[in-house]
């Protein structure tokens, strides 16, 4: 507009004759008709079909094994025991037997699964203090109000890590045993590297040590009420896996999207025979230190063994989704073809 004012003469107010101002920009007009759409429909159907088949083949090569141990076998006793809150301090172990028909080839992931556990409740998700777990000293001693009622204990001592999420951490542990002809062999598990790189290194950190030991750093705080051990003693074997950067804690802190979920417990350590190629077929047992109560929310607990493909664990839905989509597109394409044959072929739409 400013430019116009500088103009003068009889046609001073004549608008610019530019394609933009006259709304005559060259434009592509997407006209959706059978004739324009059909080729891409057929092409799309084909692509979806191929993708679906490929995915299906990939999924066929993955294996998954779920062992529900909530009340199975000897765990029934523990289940009953955990019903009573007063027994929370007592230890309970149990063992489940299972067998693998077909060997798990390649990397094997061991998960623990929970059903009906709502990690995605709004109030639950809120109940954490990322600042505290980032190692901020101020937050360590005075946790965020979001952590209520798990910010301080009855005596007013701050809880570390605070909040319902950390408090409700899954604390069963598993020992897998493989029964060979030679006798039982403990399946070696890697319990490290379970977390995202960013979680372990950026998002969560222990408070600054300043030449102190971890317990000294956490002095003046207390463990979450449901926990049996303080945060700096989560891993008795690896001192570097303690505090806010404990892998199990970090895995737990990444709240699951759905009430039925699994969380990574460890990988199969494939350095020694007979596990170099994965889990061989045969009989297995899993010894469980049964601590986590699930009866309050009618939940289930399970151990999940799985191998993965390039697009994650065993997932039958996606190939099916692709195949169904492909079928739908094909169907619509056929309908359109028929319609086009009957209506649109009279040359008008064929013009270009």
């Amino acid at each position: 507009m400013g430019k116009e004012k500088s103009k003068s003469g009889p046609l001073a107010r004549r608008p610019d004759n530019s394609a933009f101002k006259q709304q005559r920009l060259p434009a592509w007009t997407p006209m959706l008709t059978a004739s324009t759409v059909l080729p891409s429909f057929y092409l799309l159907a084909l692509i979806c079909m191929l993708l679906g088949v490929w995915l299906l083949l990939t999924v066929q090569n993955t294996q998954e094994m779920k062992v529900d141990y909530t009340e199975a076998g000897s765990c029934n006793l523990c289940f009953e025991m955990r019903k009573n809150v007063s027994n929370a301090g007592q230890k309970c172990t149990c063992m489940i037997m299972f067998s693998i028909e077909k060997a798990f080839k390649g990397d094997v992931f061991i998960y623990y699964g929970l059903r009906n556990f709502h990690q995605n409740l709004r109030r639950y998700m809120d109940s954490r203090d990322d600042g505290q777990m980032l190692g901020r000293k101020s937050n360590l001693k005075s946790p965020s109000s979001y952590c209520k009622p798990f910010d301080v204990d009855e005596k007013g001592v701050p809880i570390a890590p605070c909040g319902a999420v950390a408090n409700s951490m899954f604390n069963d542990s598993f020992i897998l045993t493989y029964y060979t002809i030679n006798g039982p062999t403990v399946v070696p598990l890697l319990r490290k590297g379970l977390t995202w790189y960013t979680d372990k290194n950026v998002k969560y950190r222990n408070p600054k040590m300043d030449n102190l030991t971890l317990p000294e750093v956490f002095e003046g705080t207390t463990r979450p009420p449901y926990w049996q051990k303080p945060v700096y003693q989560l891993d008795p074997f690896d001192p570097n896996n303690n505090g806010f950067i404990n892998d199990d804690l970090l895995v737990w802190m990444r709240e699951a999207a759905f009430p039925n979920f699994k969380k990574l417990y460890g990988f199969l350590y494939r350095a020694n025979k007979p596990f170099t190629k994965g889990l061989p077929a045969g009989n297995y047992s899993v010894a469980i230190s049964y601590n986590f109560p699930v009866q309050y929310f009618k939940g289930r607990k399970e151990v999940v063994l799985t191998t993965v493909s390039w697009f994650g664990g065993q997932n039958h839905f996606l190939p099916i989704a692709y195949l169904v989509t492909s079928g739908l597109i094909l169907l619509t394409a056929v309908v359109l073809t028929v319609v086009w044959w009957k209506f649109g072929k009279d040359g008008k739409n064929m013009a270009d």
């Binding site: 006259q22 959706l32 799309l44 995915l55 409740l121 709004r122 979001y146 998002k203 699951a256 109560p293």
Partner: protein, 1344 residues
């Protein structure tokens, strides 16, 4: 013009709301206090000050319900139990919306502030009592009671009462273009009876006190009086007042006392802001927003109930944070949480978006080259910013005729005098030639150019540096007023168009006029015929009336707008002649002469008077007595002979030309003589300024174009208006030369009287004569049968009959008719009238009514002289436009003040009325007849329609239609309560309706009736003040920025230069705007419902707890940022059909209107589709990831990404055109999303609790699963829409589509043509017709 000292009694109570003004330096303490209480001249049109901005702007914005809702949500989020996001997150939307609006407001306000400052800092000369002199002073420091001195071409800083003018007659001229767009000069008069008028005015000597009414916005009214120290009171009225922002012209110095300052000035009080109207679409939109609210509440209720039930089944689980809460209470809290979470469902940003989109649409309408008129150098002005889409829904168009359908460029076409018709064949031919001139466009531009250059030249020659302050700085209005301020140029040029000026005289009439001279000779021979002589007097009077009965301001380009001083009339000789006339005052022809002569025995001596006067004039300048036909009223033999004697005596020479019967030579001589006379005038003139103008260089500036046309016509017959001063006119008559005519009174035109009159002292007879010019109906009623001799009566009624016949014929031809009448006043009669007139003029209360009454008293017993027919040509492309509008299913009504015949003729000419149509006329004398007639007509129409019912389906096919022509009186009855419905029923069945003889009030009533009772969208288009009410009543008011003032434009929503622009405005821009906006709104609803539902579905998996799987910032910004621009672009740029196709096939307009893009069914289909898409978009990722170790945010990531793609691609599917702008915006939208989430998940370590994105997105983007999910989701979600759309388009291979494809090629070639033209244009720089390359001007033939 005349003010009289009136010894008023003290009637203070007559001015209950008054203000007292005196000199600001007076000692009177009371007065000082009073003056201080008035506003100063500082103007502040800004809404806010620096400090008050924040609270005030916030307060204003909070008047919007939408904003309140937003704030409510933000506040809700601060309540811990229901909080859904971090508090600051929920503040984002409201802050964003408020700040966008605030920034817009600041920007607008700053512009106002800037212009205010410019205005306030202008300088003017203010009298300072301390320095006893005038000092420079800013406008803002001027106060009421101050004396301000202004020079030529200065702008008046405040409303002042004029106290002194350097002009010896105490007048000054002002131009009110800044105020009302009228460019003709207006006279203002110094307050009469100021004792200090002659000497240099000194404020120190001014001790009077002014009382006037309180500030008001009536530009044409000022009531008050000035009370001199002596106690004498003088009435003040609008002619004594100089209004702010007018410009002083042609007067060296004026001094006035400020009475109203600053915001209390009339200019400021008239300055109302832009109009706010609510469009139909917006009203529907509000309804659907309520639906959204309902939907929101339902969803929240579902969540609340679900949460309550879910909680009930749980028994204090470990993940339950506050387990002691009862399920009902928790459900209640969840309800509010959900309202916060799902708040986006209510498209708050929609209101802001709509405003932005409308601004964009208006930008393009404003810049449309097709809506630009070169001749006036004006483009469309959009004054209402928020009803663009209503343009696409118009069902009824109400149009004014004059100036709207026609050009309002009046050209004299023919006339009838003394019952004799002068067809002016040559004139007709010339007009026809002019119309058919193929290079009309070019020639017009040339005239325009020359006019402009002439103007600029004159400005230079005047060397009065015309103030550069344009109107917008004065009235603090932006943009559009710029056009007003430059408009005058074009307007003046239009008046000077050669077509209007060059009237080819009718040979017969010219001969008669010339035979005036010859008859004089015959007179001397005694071969005088009474009737023909009488006819000659008629002719002379007729032309004299044309010349002087007007308010035309004369200026010559050499001295533009400088009114020439009239020649000093040798008044002494007048006295001599009077004496002489006494001697000769008898006549045997008294009864034979014109009836009015009968009443005036002195008329006789007028011959002498003429002779004597011209003689006395010629005495010092001998060239002047050469006139060949000196006597226009050779009524008696005796007179002429005595005249001759007289002439011979005074001039002292027998004129050889006198005897010359060759009229041509005589005329030539007359011309020469007048030129010489001019030359001599130069010597006489004090200024020496008036002399140099030659015959062709007089400029007439008239308030209405027909006045100018008549003056030009008279000039063609050598009756030239040479100069005008308030009390005198200088008229040049053929063969006589310049004569001063004493102008006693002007009774200006008003629409009630429909006529104007001047009272003059006849230059030849010395009688007091009233010349009246007005609408034929009025004049014919007022023209009374003369009493007296029978044959005179007979003759008179014959004239009347003939004239009426001619008038009818003119009307049939589509000419504008005016009647000219005359009345001779007795001196006593005049005195009596004069007294009451003065009383009326000086009265303060009821002045207008009294003046009207007074004028009516004078304008009686008129003698009909003749009538004129003025051609008002149709504007270009009017028939095509009307046809297009009708084909578009729009009913066109013409509401005009003209006669029925004229209206029907115009309707014929503009193809509103076709030969196949049946015309129904409704003229009734009383109400019962009217009722009966209406019913009869309804039956008739029904019968007729049954006959052609099969054809009626296509109204554009030119089948028989009914046209109703109704006149004003009948309309009055038809508009009454009980006849209304039958009138509506009838008019609904008619193709078009012509309302003739309608008043402005009737026009607005008709529009209102149709609008309210038929519930249709109406549009009114007009150009004059009489259309204002109609324009304001209609849903869309359109002003034609043509010849008549600016009132129509000021009250309109859109102002277009020509009527035919309506076609593109409605058919193309209206269609587009409606489509764009409707589709954009639907898209907005779709987008919000689709996105919000994703969150809703998630509630089924999180115990209805109100948690979200998407980062809260992304959630909030998704609608506000990432997907907000594409719909705007869509709303501004989308073209569902090419412009050319829309113009070529107006039916598309109707189709679009009846199919109605934005109707409930479409709304619900859209909502359903949104539900479907959100289901797909949620559940495919859900099933793909269910049971895995996925965390909430990683689950949300593919959902959000596919939602983004679905929403953007949905837009692509919905768009009809995609340009690089669309592509760019779509790309940037997607890019901004990814950029945001990536940055956010990389750098934001603890923020956005509890939905911390850290590490999520980079990880997701690096896993194949993410892409696999997004791909299938996006495709599946969009397939149905694509499928149904292509199915629909295939099954209905709509005309629309094929036309589209055809037009695409055409528009491409058009574009190329434009480019080529641009290049040519750049090379040559020729101002040729730009808006239509290869233009073949429409050749509408008005005249049959």
């Amino acid at each position: 013009m005349h003010s009289l000292k009136l010894p008023f009694h003290i009637h203070r109570e007559r001015l209950p709301r008054k203000r007292i003004v005196g000199p600001s330096f007076a000692e009177d303490e009371d007065l000082k206090k009073v003056l201080k209480s008035y506003q100063s001249n500082k103007i502040r049109t800004t809404k806010y000050s620096f400090l008050s901005f924040l609270p005030k702007n916030l307060f204003e914005q909070l008047h919007r319900i939408a904003n309140i809702y937003f704030i409510f949500l933000a506040a809700l989020n601060f309540v811990p139990v229901v909080e859904a996001f971090q508090p600051e997150v929920s503040l984002v939307p409201i802050v964003l919306v408020l700040s966008v609006t605030a920034i817009k407001d600041v920007f607008e306000d700053f512009r106002r502030f800037h212009s205010d400052r410019l205005v306030n800092r202008q300088l003017c000369d203010l009298y300072s009592s301390a320095q006893k002199d005038y000092v420079d002073c800013c406008w803002k420091d001027v106060r009421v009671g101050d004396f301000v001195r202004l020079s030529c071409n200065e702008i008046i800083p405040a409303d002042m009462v004029l106290l002194y003018s350097s002009d010896p007659r105490g007048v000054c001229y002002i131009e009110t273009a800044n105020l009302d767009g009228e460019t003709n000069l207006k006279q203002r008069q110094v307050v009469s009876d100021l004792p200090l008028q002659d000497s240099q005015f000194s404020p120190e000597n001014f001790h009077s006190r002014i009382e006037c009414e309180n500030p008001n916005n009536d530009l044409n009214r000022f009531r008050g009086f000035i009370e001199h120290a002596s106690g004498v009171r003088v009435g003040l009225h609008s002619s004594n007042v100089l209004l702010r922002s007018c410009t002083i012209r042609n007067t060296e110095t004026v001094i006035g006392i400020v009475v109203y300052a600053g915001h209390e000035t009339k200019a400021m009080m008239n300055n109302s802001g832009p109009r706010y109207k609510r469009s139909l679409l917006e009203r529907r939109l509000n309804r659907d927003i309520l639906w959204c609210v309902a939907l929101l509440i339902v969803m929240c209720l579902i969540a609340a109930v679900g949460h309550g039930l879910w909680l009930k089944n749980l028994k204090d689980p470990i993940f339950q944070v506050d387990g002691e809460m009862s399920p009902a209470l928790a459900a209640f809290y969840v309800f509010w949480t959900m309202i916060i979470v799902l708040q986006v469902l209510i498209p708050i940003s929609l209101y802001v978006s709509i405003e932005i989109v409308k601004l964009g649409q208006i930008y393009f309408i404003h810049n449309d080259l097709d809506m630009y008129n070169e001749e006036q150098d004006s483009r469309i002005q959009c004054r209402a910013l928020n009803i663009t889409e209503d343009l696409g829904q118009i069902q009824y168009v109400f149009s004014d005729k004059t100036g709207t359908l026609t050009e309002n460029k009046m050209v004299f076409r023919r006339c009838s005098i003394f019952g004799v018709e002068y067809p002016h064949e040559e004139n007709a031919r010339r007009l026809a030639v002019y119309e058919e001139d193929p290079n009309r466009g070019a020639s017009r531009t040339v005239t325009l150019k020359s006019a402009c250059s002439r103007k600029s030249l004159t400005c230079r020659s005047l060397s009065c540096n015309r103030s550069s302050v344009s109107l917008h700085t004065l009235t603090a209005e932006s943009g559009e007023e710029d056009q007003l301020s430059s408009h005058p140029q074009a307007k003046t040029a239009a008046f000077c168009s050669p077509m209007a000026k060059d009237v080819v005289p009718d040979p017969a009439l010219e001969k008669k006029l010339n035979s005036l001279c010859s008859s004089l000779l015959h007179l001397s021979d005694g071969l005088f015929k009474t009737t023909s002589n009488l006819e000659l007097t008629y002719i002379t009077d007729f032309f004299l009336a044309l010349t002087i009965c007007n308010t035309v301001v004369v200026s010559s380009p050499g001295q533009p707008r400088h009114v020439m001083r009239e020649a000093r009339t040798p008044l002494k000789s007048l006295e001599e002649i009077k004496v002489m006339f006494q001697r000769l005052s008898f006549s045997p022809f008294t009864t034979m002469s014109t009836p009015q002569m009968k009443s005036s025995p002195r008329s006789f001596t007028s011959r002498l008077f003429i002779r004597g006067k011209s003689g006395s004039l010629t005495f010092p300048t001998p060239t002047n007595n050469s006139p060949s036909c000196p006597n226009p009223e050779p009524e008696s033999y005796e007179e002429t002979s005595s005249l001759k004697v007289e002439l011979n005596m005074s001039a002292g020479r027998g004129d050889p030309i006198w005897a010359d019967q060759d009229s041509k030579e005589a005329l030539k001589e007359a011309q020469i003589s007048s030129d010489r006379f001019k030359g001599s005038m130069e010597d006489q003139d004090e200024d020496g300024s008036s002399g140099e103008d030659s015959e062709d260089e007089l400029l007439y500036e008239a308030e209405s174009p027909d006045e100018a046309a008549l003056v030009h016509a008279a000039r063609a017959y050598h009756c030239t208006l040479r100069a005008r001063s308030p009390e005198n006119l200088l008229v040049e008559l053929p063969g006589i030369g310049s004569l001063p005519v004493r102008l006693l009174h002007v009774l200006p035109f008003d629409s009630n009287r429909k006529r104007m009159s001047v009272v003059v002292r006849h230059p030849l007879t010395g009688e007091l004569v009233v010349y009246t010019k007005g609408a034929d109906s009025v004049i014919m009623d007022l023209a009374e049968r003369p009493k007296g001799a029978e044959h005179a009566q007979e003759l008179y009624s014959h004239i009347r009959e003939q004239t009426q016949k001619h008038l009818d014929a003119y009307a049939r031809e589509g000419l504008r008719t005016l009647c000219i009448a005359k009345k001779v006043l007795e001196e006593e009669e005049y005195d009596v009238w004069m007294k009451r007139q003065l009383l009326a003029e000086s009265s303060i209360e009821n002045r207008e009514e009294l003046l009207l009454e007074s004028a009516q008293r004078l304008e009686t017993n008129l003698t009909l002289l003749g009538s004129t027919g003025i051609v008002d040509r149709l504007q270009e492309e009017v028939p095509e436009t009307i046809e297009a509008l009708q084909r578009a299913g729009i009913k066109v009504w013409v509401l005009t003040g003209d006669k029925q015949e004229t209206a029907i003729n115009i309707a014929n000419a503009c193809k509103l009325l076709r030969s196949s149509d049946q015309l129904l006329t409704a003229n009734c004398d009383n109400k019962d007849a009217c009722a009966a007639l209406l019913n009869e007509l309804i039956v008739e129409v029904q019968c007729g329609q049954e006959g052609v019912s099969e054809q009626r389906e296509d109204p554009s096919s030119g089948s028989t239609g009914f046209i109703l022509a109704i006149d004003g009186r009948t309309l009055d009855w038809a508009l009454q309560e009980d006849l209304r419905s039958s009138f509506l029923e009838l008019s609904r069945k008619c193709k078009a309706v012509l309302c003739c003889r309608s008043t402005p009030l009737q026009k607005s009533k008709v529009v209102q009736l149709v609008r309210d009772h038929l519930r249709v969208m109406t549009l009114a288009v007009g150009d004059g003040a009489n259309d204002v009410s109609m324009i304001q009543v209609a849903d869309v008011g359109i002003g034609i920025s043509g010849q008549e003032g600016m009132q129509a434009v000021m009250s309109s929503d859109f102002a277009i230069p020509r009527f035919h622009h309506l076609r593109k405005l409605l058919l193309v821009h209206g269609h587009w705007c409606y489509h764009r906006l409707a589709n954009m709104i639907l898209y907005f609803f779709y987008k919000n419902v689709m996105y919000v539902n994703l969150l809703f579905w998630y509630q089924f998996f999180c115990g209805f707890s109100g948690s979200v799987m998407i980062n809260s910032w992304v959630l909030i910004l998704f609608n506000l940022l990432f997907t907000s621009v594409p719909p705007l672009i869509y709303g501004v740029l989308d073209q569902d059909t090419a412009a050319d196709a829309l113009e070529e096939h107006p039916e598309l307009y109707q189709a679009a209107r009846s199919s109605k893009v934005y109707v409930p069914s479409i709304f619900w289909i859209t909502i359903l589709d949104a539900f479907y898409q959100s289901c797909i978009c949620f559940f495919i990722p859900y099933f793909a990831l269910a049971g895995s170790d996925v965390d909430g945010l990683s689950f949300g990531s593919p959902i959000n990404t596919s939602a983004l793609f679905i929403i953007l691609l949905h837009q692509v599917i919905e768009s009809h055109t995609l340009t690089w702008i669309h592509a760019l915006v779509l790309f940037l939208s997607a890019a901004s999303y990814f950029a945001f989430v990536l940055l956010f998940s990389t750098f934001c370590i603890v923020c956005s609790h509890p939905t911390n994105l850290l590490g999520v997105e980079p990880r997701q983007l690096s896993t194949p699963l993410f892409y696999v999910i997004c791909a299938v989701t996006t495709v599946t979600a969009l397939i149905p829409r694509i499928f149904f759309r292509s199915l629909f388009n295939t099954v209905h291979p709509s005309a629309l589509l094929t036309k589209d494809q055809r037009q695409e090629a055409a528009s491409e070639s058009y574009r190329r043509r434009m480019q080529r033209w641009n290049q040519n244009h750049a090379r040559t720089g020729l101002p040729v017709c730009a808006d239509n390359p290869g233009l073949v001007p429409g050749q509408e033939e008005v005249l049959s």
